[in-house]
């Protein structure tokens, strides 16, 4: 089948990146109309993925890929099942609308091209993330979404708040990314596979492993930070500093769901254990309640939506971890419905902001006449969010209650959490989708009129889909929710829920939720005041902690630097040599490897002994030298003595070289010393002398003992014999030393003469530099 040809999928995956490269050029030529053309890229990707619907709904999977680093068992490979496909369609579909919306929202902005480029970069990364089969690919795309998010949140980089929010999001999600990487390495180590598609069948082995819990915690660290679960939620509301299209796309519909995606993807592998079924619902539930409660307190449309997004993510995590097929079905339905209505509501909030100049709820009212189309979209989306019958949100809510109200005490607790969270979200849905449009017309900074088509097209399409999916639920189930639920549970599942209300506990709970929600909406002012009081009494939240942590970290590292790098060479050298001495001496004593006491050499010739004494005297003279001339002369003495020792013990080459080097050393030392008016005498306090001498003697003793130990053992003659045997036979040279230098180890010598050359250049540079500087000054 042509649709599954890997090349096309590859192109579809990379189309957003190509478009990201082209976007700035197109915008600079065509202005904001370019958005319509750029939107073709995600639209084409969307269409390509639509062609998989038939195959996937029939229970098949689409795979493909190319080898990347075969030696490391790495490949660029994708694996598309119901879960991936639903995400891919949401990403490309909503992405198309967002690009068009951005063209209108950022109209006339001088960096529109850059903005679209970042959006498309993110889109490509997110798309890659959800179809990745290999761990490494998943991780790379995961980090790429964090980076794209950083760029987009900080898009308005001239404001400090935007910079802070961007950095905060990057630090939190980046740290989570590292945690995820560690978790994936654990999974890899335990199971030996690097592909998600293979990993799915190894869940049981993994759960038996002692590394299950560490791996789980690390993976959750990645998922929870990305999906803004309590207590890592604080970056998401701050991310609202980004332009509204970003909030609608990344921070509600797609990126923040990456964590949920990961949990869903790994559900067959890691799920089903007590740890999974306790941690996920607990953190999800806490996030749900926290998000919904703080959301009520807000007056800014975007912030209200941001906190409900956090609450919804909590709900999704809770459902994913609940552990029953019904809960998974509910999560699937809610995920789709949420992406549609939240994307629409964010875009509505942006349109209202764009037309009236404010997002403050108390300042808005009576916009229904001025903005009828926007109002219609807002109303539809809000109804879906509130979970009214006929809407996709209703399906999700029915399924949630059907799943949670299973009867046991644990279920009752989570039902309560879901009820409270949902009721609050109903109230916020009405506050955002209804309140600005009804009631008295209020004075706004700008005179409102209907938004242009670019601004209402997205919300209208998404909101309409919310009702289409609700009414034609069998279609939704057949193509999206059933395959996706099957993928998460890892066995064929059919979602059957319809929008026609049927009597039972779930419906009763839905009605109850709605009633409380309307009640809270009616008393919104009071509820907000109550929440403000409560938050006030709780004191600063994790958002402030983050600031304290950052300053603390800076102070700590600066303090640490002052201790370990005080800027005094003496201390560095002292520490280095103490460590050298310890490294040499401690093993000798600890492992009882001290060399045997050597016998006094017999048959020592007079001239040999004489030069040893001369060398020793030279060294002592260098140590005690109080003026330049003594230092130079005594340095020469020890050098020439060493040269003679080489000669006496069968190394004429070394001897000649040492002679020449010593001569030249004395020459250049004299040349420099005559100009350098510095004293070679040393003024160290007595305590310093004792310390330095102790370290020096320890080092000298260490090297001496090590050498004595090693000469006490038999020499491995392998290399020497090799050179001996082949020097004349193959390399045609009788002087073995020279043959080694220029032939056997010629490459080494090439490197060494390069070093000699570089020191020559460095010396010239040092001397030239001064001429230049003097000339300037």
């Amino acid at each position: 089948m042509a649709a599954s040809a890997p090349a096309w999928t590859f192109i579809a995956l990379f189309l957003p990146f190509v478009a990201a490269l082209l976007a700035p050029f197109l915008v600079s030529r065509l202005g904001d109309k370019a958005a319509w053309i750029i939107a073709l890229a995600p639209a084409l990707s969307f269409l390509h993925f639509c062609r998989f619907l038939g195959e996937i709904s029939a229970g098949e999977v689409v795979t493909g890929g190319y080898a990347w680093a075969p030696s490391l068992n790495l490949s660029f490979s994708w694996f598309i099942d119901g879960l991936s496909l639903t995400f891919a369609l949401l990403i490309t579909g909503i992405g198309t609308l967002i690009v068009i919306y951005s063209g209108g929202y950022m109209k006339g902005h001088r960096h529109l091209g850059r903005f679209l480029s970042f959006i498309l970069l993110f889109m490509g990364a997110m798309l890659g993330l959800v179809v990745s089969d290999s761990f490494l690919m998943l991780f790379v795309y995961w980090e790429l979404t964090s980076i794209a998010s950083f760029l987009l949140i900080g898009f308005d980089h001239e404001r400090e708040a935007a910079r802070r929010a961007a950095l905060q999001a990057l630090v939190v999600t980046g740290a989570g990314g590292l945690s995820l990487l560690a978790g994936l390495v654990f999974l890899w180590n335990v199971t030996g596979v690097t592909q998600l598609s293979l990993l799915v069948h190894l869940g049981d082995a993994l759960k038996m492993s002692p590394f299950y819990l560490p791996a789980l915690f690390l993976v959750l660290g990645g998922a929870f930070t990305k999906s803004a679960q309590f207590p890592f939620h604080f970056w998401l509301p701050n991310a609202m500093e980004a332009p509204t299209p970003v909030s609608a796309y990344l921070h509600s519909a797609t990126m923040v769901k990456a964590g949920v995606y990961l949990l869903m993807r790994l559900n067959p592998v890691l799920g089903g254990t007590p740890a999974w079924e306790i941690l996920l619902p607990f953190f999800g539930g806490v996030t749900l309640i926290t998000g919904a409660l703080i959301g009520i307190r807000q007056t800014d449309l975007k912030l209200m939506l941001a906190y409900t997004t956090m609450a919804s993510l909590g709900l999704l995590v809770m459902l994913t971890g609940f552990g029953s097929p019904h809960a998974i079905e509910a999560a699937v339905l809610y995920l789709v419905a949420h992406s549609l209505f939240k994307g629409a509501l964010f875009m509505v909030a942006g349109a209202v902001d764009h037309e009236t100049g404010t997002r403050e709820l108390p300042l808005l009212g009576g916009l229904r006449h001025a903005m009828p189309v926007t109002f219609a979209a807002a109303l539809l989306a809000a109804c879906s969010m509130a979970g009214l019958p006929l809407f996709a949100g209703f399906l999700a809510k029915e399924e949630i209650y059907a799943a949670l109200a299973a009867g046991n005490p644990r279920a009752v607790f989570f039902t309560g959490a879901a009820l409270a969270g949902n009721a609050l979200m109903v109230a916020i849905a009405l506050a955002v989708g209804l309140k600005p449009f009804i009631g008295q017309r209020k004075n706004t900074p700008r005179h409102p009129h209907e938004a242009p088509i670019t601004l209402w097209l997205g919300p209208v399409v998404l909101a309409a889909l919310g009702i289409v999916f609700g009414v034609f639920s069998p279609l939704l189930h057949a193509y999206l929710s059933s395959p996706m639920a099957s993928a998460i549970i890892d066995e064929p599942t059919v979602v059957t829920i319809t929008t026609i209300p049927h009597l039972g506990l779930p419906l009763a709970l839905s009605v109850f939720t709605l009633a409380i929600g309307v009640l809270i909406y009616w008393q919104l002012e009071r509820a907000r005041w109550l929440m403000a009081q409560m938050l006030e009494s709780l004191g600063p939240g994790p958002d402030r902690w983050f600031d304290h942590m950052v300053t603390g970290l800076v102070r700590f590292s600066a303090g640490l630097m002052r201790i370990i790098q005080p800027g005094r060479l003496e201390i560095y050298i002292t520490i280095t040599f103490i460590l050298v001495a310890l490294t040499l001496l401690v093993p000798l004593f600890v492992f009882d490897e001290l060399p045997d006491m050597p016998a006094w050499p017999t048959g020592l010739l007079v001239q040999e002994a004489a030069f040893f004494v001369i060398a020793a005297l030279g060294i002592i003279a260098v140590l005690r030298a109080a003026d330049r001339l003594t230092a130079i002369v005594s340095l020469g003495i020890q050098g020439f003595a060493v040269a003679v020792i080489f000669l006496l013990f069968g190394a004429p080459d070394l001897s000649f070289t040492q002679f020449m080097v010593e001569t030249l050393s004395v020459v250049i030392l004299t040349l420099v010393m005559t100009r350098l008016r510095l004293s070679v005498s040393d003024h160290r306090p007595a305590g310093q002398v004792v310390l330095d001498a102790t370290i020096a003697i320890a080092c000298g003793l260490g090297f001496a003992l090590m050498l004595l130990k090693s000469v006490g053992r038999p020499l491995d003659p392998f290399m020497t014999d090799f050179f001996d045997a082949y020097s004349k036979a193959i390399a045609h040279g009788a002087n073995v030393v020279n043959v080694i230098i220029v032939d056997f180890r010629g490459t080494d010598t090439l490197g060494e003469i390069a070093v000699v050359m570089i020191t020559g250049l460095a010396v010239l540079a040092l001397l030239k530099l001064r001429v230049g500087k003097r000339g300037e000054g």
């Binding site: 004429p652 080459d653 000649f656 070289t657 020449m660 080097v661 001569t663 030249l664 020459v667 250049i668 040349l671 420099v672 100009r675 390399a731 045609h732 040279g733 009788a734 002087n735 030393v737 020279n738 043959v739 230098i741 220029v742 032939d743 010629g746 490459t747 010598t749 090439l750 003469i753 390069a754 000699v756 050359m757 020191t759 020559g760 250049l761 010396v763 010239l764 001397l767 030239k768 001064r770 001429v771 003097r774």
Partner: protein, 148 residues
């Protein structure tokens, strides 16, 4: 150090040392010697000449900038290594030819050209350092002459 005796003797000493250095270089493969030692002897010779007659004189005598000599040496050494690639053997494998010159068989090899490269690098780099140091820093023009 600029005595008349030194100034008179320096050219002779330098010439002899240079000749000796080439001798040490060429016999190095079979007797004590080689590129490093030869190079150091030649560099000392030039340094002595520099002390006696000033770096400018050395500069004029060797015509090229010392670092250019060093660079040529490094180039020669690298090329000697690369020659084996053309012959289809691993990098730095020695290649030998035995042409008959005036009735005497002369062994020539990439190993020898490599050693000559080593010699040139050592002579060039160390002479450059010595000349640069011999140049009086206050005298800008002399310094330039010595190191350019």
């Amino acid at each position: 150090m600029n005595t008349l005796i030194l100034r008179t003797a320096a050219p002779v000493i330098t010439a002899l040392m240079l000749l000796f250095s080439v001798f040490v270089l060429l016999r190095g493969h079979n007797e004590p010697g080689g590129g490093f030692i030869g190079g150091l002897i030649a560099a000392s010779a030039l340094a002595i000449f520099g002390i006696a007659h000033g770096p400018g004189a050395v500069q004029r005598a060797i015509r090229f900038h010392p670092m250019a000599i060093a660079g040529a040496g490094l180039f020669l050494a690298t090329m000697s290594g690369l020659a084996s690639l053309i012959a289809g053997v691993p990098f730095m494998s020695g290649l030998w030819v035995y042409p008959d010159i005036l009735g005497v068989e002369v062994p020539l090899s990439t190993v020898m050209s490599f050693d000559i490269g080593v010699y040139l690098v050592v002579v060039g780099a160390i002479t450059a350092i010595a000349l640069a140091l011999e140049t009086e820093p206050e005298n800008g023009s002399a310094h330039d002459e010595g190191s350019r």
